[in-house]
């Protein structure tokens, strides 16, 4: 044989060998959906995973890459894979009956889409309760440009709330008995404690108030009895990430839980939040942050000491904790803090449910019961020139008004110049610090610098005298988080986009979505209508919709819109952060805006698994936009 022929033969042979290897070439990835065994250290159970494990692998993509992902279903039931937070053509979004029919047992579906973003994201099954049963994994996308922060190493820190019961069984139990999993309910012994603390009358009245509503102040976690995991490891198994003292470590926190919010801190380390939901934010240094279900936060820490640090995630209801370690060597552990006292919801969290006591002047009897704020015309009643302080709110039965309830604008006090409001004369003079809830008074989204401290008589306030309330919790809410070791707790109000993705423009229309539910029947819905009975939400390509979430329930809901970004309105104008999950606390109203630039149809739902399944879900149909018929043809799955 000539040299050329030998050479050609060798090349052919090598080419064939490579082709036959079966391993994916750059841009092509293979996933299988498998039944797996899950061992949390506290219990074992069978569940669902990817490529033989739960959590599944970390998929690493590059911004600008065109990926091909072959997903093979090795289960005996339909499955699906949804790429949470990724912007892609709707047929690639992975939601059965909205994007595609799903992946039948034994079938392989090939996803093909371009990667047009960078950051930390995740993927999970969108069929049945496969996700709570373990079908989740992480996505890390390397950016094409340099990031506005540096780190020497990085780790994915993926949280989950593994439960010994299967998702189907949990749903059934919750339908049978909504407090099936709640072992933190108010007991007789608690009543004795309350009576001792505040007197029998107050304790009885408290029980009576909640009993009247048939609601529980302990209704923070629907699902208890889970074992929190970090990267698939329970607290005893202690997931560990190594570092060299002095290094900057990037931690990609992903909350892949079914139902649980975690409050994360690393005792001894400050956390610099640099990304939220995959998008860069102007860096903010905190001591602790709350991560809602399905959210991601990328933080930078710089451990300087040659010792171990505990990564500690307390569940929001304080029933369990996730625990991992950052250490210079394997096998080290630092102190693990104790769980704090469980929070109790307050009447502040009970929007509209709490009874209202109007005192001796019975407006209701006079037929004035449902008067809107501001309708009462004091001048017409001859009360016009009342000196400041003369109006006795308590005597009128307005004494126990929740903060923020008094609508100054509606009462005609709207255009009061700064400094005019005489708090002392109104009897608010000796208000303790922290008592004045600015957010509740509607001063929450005041641009920085607008507040004129000198004019308010606060000119000579000592440093740290001001205790900022979190406008994303109801005034007086029992859920408002505080940093365990003092220090700063991250608020949605602290998030500002590093680089806005869209031009800042006014919304073209507003859509109100009331978050509703019936705890006793364990039915969760939007505007009182379950998914099965609802019409899709129709949006027009090119518009900018302002969504108004009004939470009428006493639970916190992480609302997730597929396929398009949710620009949270936290008063930062063009710096409003760009997210994909918006958490709405009880009795609050939160606004977010979406530039409707993704044609097709998309899921929009509460990401608490058992809420989504019981009806807190909608299909969003985007009408108009570039013709996707040819795109659909080219996206047809192979194999």
């Amino acid at each position: 044989m000539s040299e050329t022929t030998t050479f050609r033969a060798a090349m052919l042979g090598t080419g064939l060998a490579l082709a036959l290897m079966g391993s994916a070439t750059a841009g092509e990835y293979n996933l299988t959906v498998d039944p797996v065994e899950i061992d949390t250290g506290a219990f074992s159970r069978s569940g669902v995973g990817f490529n033989g494990t739960s959590p599944g692998p970390v998929l690493r993509f590059r911004e600008g890459e065109a990926v091909t992902i072959n997903v093979t279903n090795n289960l005996d039931q339909n499955t699906s894979v949804h790429w949470h937070g990724l912007i892609l053509p709707y047929q690639q979004d992975g939601v059965p009956k909205i994007s595609y029919p799903g992946i039948a047992p034994g079938e392989t579906f090939t996803y093909r889409f371009p990667i047009t973003q960078s950051g930390t994201y995740w993927f999970h099954s969108h069929s049945g309760f496969q996700e709570p049963d373990g079908a989740y994994g992480a996505i890390v996308i390397e950016p094409k440009d340099r990031e506005p922060f540096r780190h020497d190493r990085e780790y994915v820190v993926q949280l989950a709330d593994a439960h010994p019961h299967s998702g189907d069984r949990i749903m059934r139990n919750l339908k049978m008995m909504p407090d099936y999993y709640n072992r933190q309910q108010r007991t007789l012994l608690d009543f004795f404690d309350d009576a001792e603390e505040k007197g029998v009358d107050a304790a009885l009245r408290d029980r009576g108030d909640w009993g009247d509503m048939r609601m529980m102040p302990t209704d923070v976690e629907d699902l208890q009895g889970f074992t929190p995991l970090i990267n698939g490891k329970g607290p005893e198994q202690n997931w560990t990430g190594l570092f060299r003292p002095g290094e900057r470590v990037r931690l990609r926190f992903i909350n892949s839980s079914a139902m649980t919010y975690f409050d994360i801190r690393i005792p001894g380390l400050k956390l610099t939040v640099v990304q939220a939901d995959g998008n860069n934010v102007q860096p903010v240094v905190v001591d602790e942050f709350r991560i809602a279900v399905a959210e991601t936060y990328d933080v930078i820490v710089q451990p300087t000491e040659n010792r171990a640090y505990t990564i500690y995630g307390e569940s929001m209801g304080r029933t369990a904790f996730a625990r991992g370690t950052l250490a210079p060597r394997e096998g080290m552990a630092a102190d693990v803090p104790e769980l704090r006292e469980p929070p109790l919801l307050t009447m502040g969290d009970m929007a509209g449910h709490a009874g209202m006591d109007h005192g001796s002047m019975d407006h209701a009897a006079m037929g004035h019961g449902s008067m809107p704020k501001g309708a009462m015309d004091h001048a017409a009643m001859g009360h016009g020139s009342m000196p400041k302080g003369a109006m006795d709110h308590a005597a009128m039965g307005h004494g126990s008004m929740p903060k923020g309830a008094m609508d100054h604008a509606a009462m005609g006090h709207g255009t009061m110049p700064k400094g005019e409001m005489d708090h002392a004369a109104m009897g608010h003079g000796s208000m303790p610090k922290g008592e004045m809830d600015h957010a509740a008074m509607g001063h929450g989204s005041v641009p920085k610098g607008a507040m004129d401290h000198a004019a308010m008589g606060h000119g000579s306030m000592p440093k740290d005298g001001m205790n900022h309330a979190d406008p994303f919790y109801a005034p007086g809410s029992g859920l408002r988080p505080e940093a365990a070791d003092g220090g700063r707790f991250l608020s949605y109000a602290d998030l500002k986009a590093q680089k806005p993705l869209y031009e800042h423009r006014p919304a073209t229309r507003e859509i109100e979505l009331k978050l509703t539910g019936n705890m006793e029947r364990y039915i969760w819905s939007i505007n009182g209508v379950k998914y099965a009975d609802a019409d899709p939400i129709r949006l027009t390509y090119g518009e900018r919709v302002r969504f108004k979430f009004v939470n009428t329930t006493m639970m916190t809901h992480p609302m997730h819109l597929h396929g398009m970004w949710s620009i949270l309105d936290n008063g930062s104008g063009k710096w409003n952060p760009v997210k994909h999950v918006i958490s709405v606390a009880p009795a609050t109203t939160v606004y977010m805006e979406t530039e409707v630039d993704a044609p097709g149809q998309w899921a929009f739902h509460c990401h608490l698994s058992y809420h989504a399944d019981s009806g807190m879900f909608r299909k969003v149909v985007v009408e108009g936009g570039p013709d996707t018929a040819s795109a659909a043809a080219s996206m047809k799955s192979g194999g």
Partner: protein, 233 residues
Amino acid sequence: MKHLLSAVAFLVPALLPGVPLLAEPNVWGIQVEQSEYRVGGDTDVAAWDLDAFYGNDELRFVYRSEGEYALEEESFETLENQFRLSTPISDFFDGVAGVRFDTASGPDRLHGVIGIHGLTRQWFEIDADLFVSDHPSVRFEVEYEGLITNRIILVPSIELDVPLVDDLALDRAAFSPKLEVGARLSYDVIDRLFSPYVGVHYERTFGQSANLVRAAGEDASAAFLVIGARMMF
């Protein structure tokens, strides 16, 4: 009586239309409120009270079974099987309609059932049923779940059964009620799956019914100590 029964029978299919039984996943469950051994009275009694359901948020099929088996006499003092359809009529209440078969010792009875079931303010769970037949009656039950701790639960209960028409074959006189009062203290051993309890059970028949019962050689009242288990799966 037959047309009364048919009226109830019509109610049942009236609940069906417009219900997307196939659109939503159905759930099922079995709740055994009582399964116990009662000591006292004339004779020890084995008793049970269970609900099994299947359906969705709009419509549920419920099978309710109650029984009291007198061990010495080897016969059923009570054996009721109800087949009900339940649908929400308000946030906290369901309306129910169905049939009840009584096959305890003595003549069998068949009744239509119309009632409500739900949770009142301050957490009282109530059942109020009208049994429609030649021997109609009303029954009212109240139960309260008192948490001593998160696992130790005390459930007091009251049941009042009032015949509306004489049923002499079963020693029941019109408007002479039978009262059952109980208190059961349980401990959740495994989730809500298995919760053994001990308690007391007291029953008493009043008025003319009491006379009828005594004439038949039975006691008009009885008190029992009970031991049993609550189960839910």
